[in-house]
Each structure stands twice: as C-alpha cells, then as structure tokens.
Symmetry: none
Subunit: 214 residues, 4 copies
C-alpha cells in the first residue's frame, strides 16, 4: 500500500482524509495501535495532527474509518481472488487456503484489529457483526450455490457451516500461523483437514448421485 501525502496548506478535504487513512493503516500495522502516535500519522500524511480529530473525532475514530473501508471491500476481494468451481470440496478448500494467505499478508494489521477488538467493545462488535459477518456470508453464498446444484444436503444449516469454516480460517490463518508462530504448512494442513470434515458432513450423499446416473 502506498501512502498518499497531500500538499500542506491546500484545502482538499477528501485527499486529506484519504491520506490520513492510508498513513494510519500503515503506521498501525508497523507499530501497533498503542505505539503508533497521532503525530506520526499526521506527519506521514503531511498534514496537521488536529485534522485527525476534526475528521475522525479521535484516534479510535480513525481506526473505525479504516475498518469500515475494509468491510466495504470484503466481498469483492474474495470474489476476485477465489474462483467458483463445480467441486464443493475443492471450492471450500480454495476459500480456506486463500484466507490463510490473505491473513498472512495482512498479519500486521490483523494484529491491530484483533487486539483492539478485545479491548474496545465498539471495535469488537464491528468486527463481529460486520467484518466477520461478511466473511461468513461469502462462505454461505458459495455453499448456497452448491446446494442449488444439489451438491449439498438439504437439511444442512448453511449459516452454521459457513461460521465454522470462517472460524477455522481465522484460527489457523491468524492464531496458528501468526500469533503462535506455527509452521505455515502445518497450519494449512490443520485448516484443510477441518475444512474437509465440514465438507464431508454437508456434502450430499454420493450414492444418490450415482443412482441418479443410472
């Protein structure tokens, strides 16, 4: 991600907000939320410290703005990155593996978000109700498509399955890989097996399909 500093003095509200958000994202990721100072963020964005408070109310408000932006992009990012497939198991695996990679790349910022979610209830709720909820929704939509094609049992609660898959991704992708510093291949194997277990459970019985073919 590139910073986008502005030319000082000039009046250019949107550009300044953009610059502050970019600078903050970078700085939070590099140093952590607590260690990052509003002064450093403002310097990086090449505008004054006071603007953070004018535009976002507070340091916390600045983080929320970043999160809202991330949340707005969740679906697009996944759609672009993981292709649909006719094979339920393959698609689920692809989704989970992609999540692992994504969280690895975003690990520094993930630390920030997760850390704040633990401490700041507003962040906690936002991550739960919006960020995580949208990730779950993406899983759910993908599975739904397979159900429409008869590849998922009718009696399965897709929402629950999607929650489980998202949770497994988060656990392996962030905690195992990043926080616990587990070997990445090992984390991937665990996630893959768990995803496979979910797949087996929700997949429509193969027998019927075979029977139908007769």
């Amino acid at each position: 991600m590139l910073t986008s500093p502005v030319t000082p003095g000039k009046q250019d509200k949107d550009a300044r907000q953009r610059a502050l958000i970019d600078a903050a994202t970078l700085t939070f990721a590099e140093k952590g939320y607590d260690v990052a100072t509003t002064r450093e963020i403002a310097e990086r964005a090449r505008c004054s410290e006071g603007l953070i408070h004018r535009y976002f109310g507070s340091k916390h408000g600045l983080l929320m703005a970043i999160l809202r932006e991330k949340a707005a992009n969740v679906r697009d990012v996944v759609q672009v990155s993981v292709d649909e497939s006719d094979d339920l198991g393959a698609e689920i695996e692809a989704l989970v593996m992609w999540a692992l990679d994504f969280m690895w790349e975003q690990r520094d910022f993930m630390r920030v978000v997760t850390g704040r979610a633990l401490v700041d209830p507003e962040v906690g709720r936002f991550v739960g109700n919006t960020l995580n909820a949208r990730r779950v929704q993406v899983f759910a939509e993908r599975i739904e498509r397979h159900r429409a094609a008869g590849r998922v049992r009718d009696d399965v609660d897709i929402e629950t399955a999607a929650q489980a898959l998202a949770g497994i991704s988060y656990q392996a992708g962030f905690f195992l890989q990043v926080v616990f510093e587990m070997d990445r291949r090992n984390a991937a194997r665990i996630a893959r097996e768990a995803a496979r277990a979910i797949t087996i459970m929700i997949a429509a019985p193969q027998v019927k399909r075979t029977e139908r073919l007769r």
Copy 2:
C-alpha cells in the same frame, strides 16, 4: 478466585508472591492489562509495589508468572471437569462444550492473555507453545484412548484432529461468545456442529464393524 492479602511487615516471601499473583489475576481481568496499575495490584495484595519488581522483574514478568501457573494446571482442570466416555462423539462434544463454558467463565482473563499474546511476542509464543499446546494435548490423549478401543480410524492423524478441535473451541468459546458477543447458544451450536464434523471424519466406520460381526 479469592484474594489473599498478607500482613504488612511480616516476612513471608511465598505468601506475598501468592498474594501478588492472585491480586494481579483479578486486577488484570477486571481492568485489562494496560489499565491495571502495579500500584493497584500491590494495594490489593497489601504489599509494597517494589515487590512486584523484586519478585517478578516487571509487570510483564508478573503476567508471565500467572501464565506459567495456568499452564501447569491445564490438564488437571480438564481431567476433573470432563469425564471419559465410551462414545467418541459424546466425549468430544463434552470436551468442546466444557471449553466453551470455561472460556466464558474466564472471559475477562482470556481477553488479557489473548490481547497480550498479540502484542508481546514472548506471551504469544508461550500461549502457542505451552498453553494452547497443552489443551491440544489433552484432546489428543482423549482421542488416543478411543483409538486404542478401535473407535477411531487407524489412518487418522490425531494431532491434527486435536488441533482442529482446540481451535474450534477457542474460536467459538472466546471470539464468537465473548468478543463478537454472539448469542451463547448460537456459538455452542456452531462449535457442536464443527466437532461433529471432525468426529464423523475420524470415527471408525460403524457399518463395517457391524458387517464384520455377521
């Protein structure tokens, strides 16, 4: 947990260490690590602030001491709380459900530990290599027993299954229930389904056994 204040002036090193650990556990949980002050902890333990640094080196050292103690008790706590069973699925479900309850009760301290693990690499590694590792081990041992009884497939990697189950417990027990403030029954359902999926995957095929009996 009860605090165990000591009598001022009297010389009783061990009692003071005990009192400080108890007071810190309580205070960290109530206020969070950052907000809790060493002064408050010392007052609560009824001893001088300096002792924290003499005995534990620093505020961080005090937290590590608490964690080491927790880690030492992990197995016993589980063994006492969750009975063994002849039914693989039942035991796994019991273990996961117990973990959810446990994390709910410990939620405030869980916030502290997880939050610090994200920020302090030493804590991160300790939680990963020791605390979490022992929880995983408990799952593994329980499954192992079922394998010995022929209730688990021979080709299953128990370690991986245990990791997945521990991860699911953590995710649902802490993040869904606590951080994301999801309805507890909902969180429990998700965990239960995921656990069931794992169970199905690792369970020795019932059919064959029946067939064999013929």
Copy 3:
C-alpha cells in the same frame, strides 16, 4: 537572573523556551540537577511539563540548551567586565581576580555544570571543548595583544599559558573557594601568586625596557 513566566494557554513558543531556560537555570542552581524536578521547573515557568520534552527533548537537553547559551556569551561577559591595560601583569591579575568573583557569584550553577560534566560525557565534552575552550581563548587573545606590543616574549606558547591561567582560575575560583570552602582571600592569594608566576615566565625581559629608557 529573573524568571520570566508566561501566560498560560497563549501561544508563544519563544517566550516559553526562554521561560523554561530561565526557570531551569534557577532551579538547577538552587537544588542541584538531580534534585530539581522537571515539574518544579515547569511550574516556575508557568507552563506544562510536557513542553520541556517537546522543546528540549529531555531534562538533559534542557541543561545542554542552558550551556549553549552560556557558551555563546562567554566572551562578551569577560570583555565587558575586565578592561584592557598596558600592564601585562595587571591585566592578567585582573582577569584572574574577575574569574574568581564570577565563579563565586555563579557557584551554585558551577556545581551543577561541573557535577554533570563528571557524569555525563556529552556535558563533559561540551564544557571542555566549548565553555572552557572559550575562556582559554579570551585569555589567549588578551595576552596576544600584549605580545603585539612587545610585552610578551616571542618564544612563549600563548595557548599553553592561557590554559594554565584558565586552569588556575577554575581551581582557585571554584574548588578552593567553593567546594573546599577555603577562605576567599586565601584562595585569591594563591591564584594571584600563580598568575604572577606565569606572568614572570612569559613577560618580555625587563632589561630591554630599562635599556630603552636610557
């Protein structure tokens, strides 16, 4: 020296830096560097403690700022206070005696500077390379003028003589008078005799002058 407190809230960077330097000079002198607290200095200057760190980086930086200012004024102070003279011995004596008086007046701050110079290498170097060096230079320039007038031997190394005279002034003016609490007249006598010895050594042979008189 007068303190120069500022009006709270008003924005006047320069005035505040001035006020902090003045307040610190006074407070360091009264209490010593270690005992003086940044809080007291800030209160005296009527501005917030944080400004010390914003403007000077640290307590140490504040002392350095004071020293730089002192160093900038060394020459002027001497020039104003000690008149030139046609008599080498008289001028040297005047310079040394003035130094004794000056150090007596500044004794409290001298303690601070010297004490810090012993402990803080940066201060030590600054005092040696700048403060002391400039005092030496003033001596040297004065003697140089006498040499131009033929009152100092050609083969004398003026730098060395100036160093010796500055050293004698410092020793008698600060250590004997102040630190060792020697009777001031006694200290003055010692300094005067040592200065006279230097004078005798560097003075152009009287014979010539006598000869000239013939």
Copy 4:
C-alpha cells in the same frame, strides 16, 4: 585492586568491613556513586546489604570510610613513587608528572570523589581539608627541604606555592586529561609549564649561589 569476598555466615567483622570497602571502591569506580547500588556492593563482598548500614551507617558513610583510608595513605604513596632530588625544578616536575599519571590511573574513582565533593558538603570539606590538604603538604615538605638547602628564596610562602602546584596537578591531571578528554601529552605540557613558572618564581637567584661559590 582485588575484591576480598568473605565466607557468608561466618562472623568476621574486620574481614567484612574490608570486603565491603574493597567492593564499594570497585563498584563506585565502575558505575559511579549514584548508579552503584548497595545491593551490588553487598553481593560483590559476599555479605548482606544490611551490613553496610550496620558498619558504615549509610551508603554515604561507606564512601567516607573509603576516603579516610585513601587519606591515610597519601603521603606514603607519594614518597614511594617520587624520589627526592637535588634539583628543585626536576623534583617539582617529577611530582607534578607523577600526579598526572596517578590521577589518570585513578580516574574513575576521581570522578566519584570529585562528583560527590560537589554535591555532598561533608565530602567536599573532607576532600578539601584532608585529602587535598595532605597532597599540598607533601609538596610543601618537598619544597621546604630545598629551602633548607638554599635552593628556594627565603621570602617565598611555601604553603602558597604548594597549593598552586597541587591545584595545577589536579586541574591538568583530572579535568584536562579526564573530564575534558584532552590529549594527555597536551595536558602534561600545560602542567609542566605552569610548574616551571612556579619553580622560576620561588627558586633562589642563581647568581647568589655562584657568588657564594667564589
């Protein structure tokens, strides 16, 4: 200097005092008075912290004990190190040069003593009235011997000359060499020239001696 730790538990008052003084001398020199902790000193002497207070009353008292010991040895140290001579100038130069070497070797402890003398009036007086006074006395005695041999003018105040020489030694030996980090040869040259000036001033006129010989 070697430390002289004692065997713990055993009752051995003198040895313990000895060990504490040695350990403190070393530790003060290495770290400075303020930074050195009584705990470290006690550990080094292999006895308990409390003993410092029992035997010496306080950290300050421990330093005073060290100083008293140093003062008791001043004369002997000089006598052993600098030979008498029939040449006044040579002997004075030898004394001053020796002082420079001595202070260089002892520079770390010199910092401690001087630093404390500036801050602690009791130390200041002790150094002035005892330590420095004895150094002066040694100079005086040496010069006195030369006067008895007719090599020093009758009208010279030997005390004053000795004070000047001691002062020059201290200034060049400690401040120039150590605190100001001046090149040692340079410091030596300054001290030598100043000593020569004093010598010239106090030396009995050579003419007379020649005349006497006739």
